[in-house]
Amino acid sequence: MNKSRTLKSIFAILAVSLSLASCDKIEQDNYIVFSGAAGEWFDGNGVSDHSQRAIIEKYTGVRCVNCPNADIAINDAVAGYGDKLIAVAIHDSSVFTRPIGQTPCLSTPDGDAWSHFFGVYAAGQYPTAIINRTLNGNAWDLFTPTSGINSRVDNIIGQTAQVALDVDAHNNNSTVDITVNLEFLQSVGSDLTLTLLLIEDGLVVTQRQPDGSDDENYVHNHVLRDVITDVWGADIECTGNSGEKRIAQFQYTPTSSDWKLSNCHIIAFVADKATKQILNAAQSEIE
């Protein structure tokens, strides 16, 4: 290779490298986005469905060979419990979440924050799940969700709900209008938070299988795309007295054009601000 060709090659490599590392451009009308953390609370009209629901958060990864088995178990459980069980698939930043080939990365900073907080990342065992962020003794009740789901769900949904919860979401010209209603069925003395999640179904992303092969047509459901509120939720302005009814409305503009709103739904859950344990949850399609 002569000198000029080598020089051209080096400049070409540099040019490609520069373009790969180029900076993000935020359009002027998108400098600020709805934070979701400041939804204003008003007295509401209550919630007709007083169901106690369970929410299973599964920590997973596209390179996790046992995760497809967990998906089967969770899908079966969701089919069996209907709207009493809500599923979330969280891709944190573990080595198991690194995309296979040129497929998109499903990790989220918020999911990663939870993974670190609940000790999933440190334990390094995937899949791992937790239902309603409950404790087992003094430790988080983390378990491998290929079994043991039903007993945990039964234990939760068999209780009377302290807080009834309802969420409604509408697509308003690519902005999602979200309405959340709460009704206190029992008095609650601790501070509570509301967390809103954007979840996407039907994502076709390569997934490593139990036999070690890579399935390019694997369909991922319940994938956490964004935490609309602060990662640990927005404060709920309430007294917590039994019978109290509160309502808040949120507007949310998705921060990525890669997310198909038509495949998304919204999950809301109420949690104890101090203990993080989830009192109740609900979900809604984006109509």
Partner: protein
Amino acid sequence: MDKTARKLLAIATLLLFQFPVFNILNAQGILGGHVTGNVQFDGQFSRRDTTIGSSDVPEKLLSNARADILYTNGNFSAGLRYEAYLAPMLGFNSQYTGQGIANYFVSYKTQTFAVTAGHFYEQFGNGMTLRAYEDRYLGLDNAIRGINVSYRPWNGVTFKGLVGQQRYYWDTRGLVRGLDAEVSLNDVVTSWAESKTRLTLGGSFVSKYEGDETILSDISGYKLNLPHNVGAASVRMDLSHGGFGLQAEYARKGQDPNIMNNYIYKNGDALWLSASYSQKGLSANLQAKRVDNMGFKSVRSVSGEMLYINYTPAITKQHTYAFLSMYPYATQSTGEMGLQADFMYKFKKETALGGKYGTDIHLNASLITGLDTTVIGGKGTDGYTSTFFGTGDTYYGDVSLEVAKKLSSKLKLTATYGYMLFNPVIEGHEGDIHHNHILVADLTWKINRKNVLRFEAEWMGSDSKYDAAVDDKRCGDWIMGLVEYNFTSAWFVSVSDQYAYNDGIGNYYNISVGYTKNATRLQLGYGKQREGIICIGGVCRQVPASNGLTFSLTTSF
């Protein structure tokens, strides 16, 4: 660096140097290589003094210590630096508290290729897109821990690439990627090889990555939509012809809302120009720069001097005399314009102005202003617009004339006059501009080959007056005297006093004794230090008042 890595490195170091360490360190030829290093220990006792505002130090003794050890063997080198801040001396960030291996690297270098893994320092051009450097006196270390590669495919052509995280006290933060290319056309174009005109062109690109975080906007319920990858690029040239030189660099930075610019989305840019001429006995240099929103850090929410990726060259003179350096200029990376002219001339011996031994004059003038800006919004907007040639408030101005003349074979006098204006807004507080006149006389008497006596007298007249509400202890009119005696080529002792005789407060006396032998220097001092600010190259740190003993030991092997 985690504990395991530290242990491994310590074991590797001991094996490499073969315990006992100190007998071996001085030896040459370890495993066919060489070991060199240096050690520095600075200690400080300080006690309460209400007149200058110093406080008692709970630990009694504060110390900064470091040891650099470098092993080289042909093209290979490896090194580490152990640092201990137990506890950090006054003026150094308390986050330094602790000790450990703060810097370690291995490097392999040939004539055409070099790679460093571990911590490294690097600069692209003038540093306007990237300058990872360390200044121990500022408590500043922006070392990058990662991989740094440079490649010279031909003489005159250099490519550099790096990726890593920056040091943040005892941690590393951010993610920085950078590329740089430089071509010396006289080396590449055969027909230019012998040309008297020399031209070098260069360019660089640096980007940082940060994840998302919640930063609320000024509008209730909304947060900032933050860019995760922020890039900065620059082009530069260095042209010379005989004694003439012209250097220029222009840099731009993409949207980078951060704590320094109040989270605005305006692009940044900076232009630096320098024209110079030099010949025997004469040099002249004219510099200009314009900086607009070019603060570039690897973590957007960190203030202070750590984690800067880039550096804006200072174009004010780095003064050494006490009163001339009492108001140093701190570069305003958010926006400034500046001009500096520097002229040095030597009147030859046996001329009317040169006299028997010749006379050196050094004239320097600089002026720094803000930008002419129009505010269009706050956090979460483009912030402001600016006109390219418009100027805003005056930040700093400085004119100094230094005349150095050897009066006899044993006497040398350096006389300096300086005029300075200083706007306190550059240190972050409001107030009237200070106008100061400064005179310095520095007389050195070389008694004989081993004994030298130096006298220094300084005066500063200022229109500023001490105001307890502002508590700027630099205000007022000052005088200073210093006597320094160097004897036996090894010892020195100096006594000095600065006194605010009008419109100010404070009487700062110091005495120090030092001893130097070969590569070892020991210094002991006692006195009072005025609170203030020290700057090196426009980068500054606060120095609190202190009253007590200081000592310093440096050695190298």
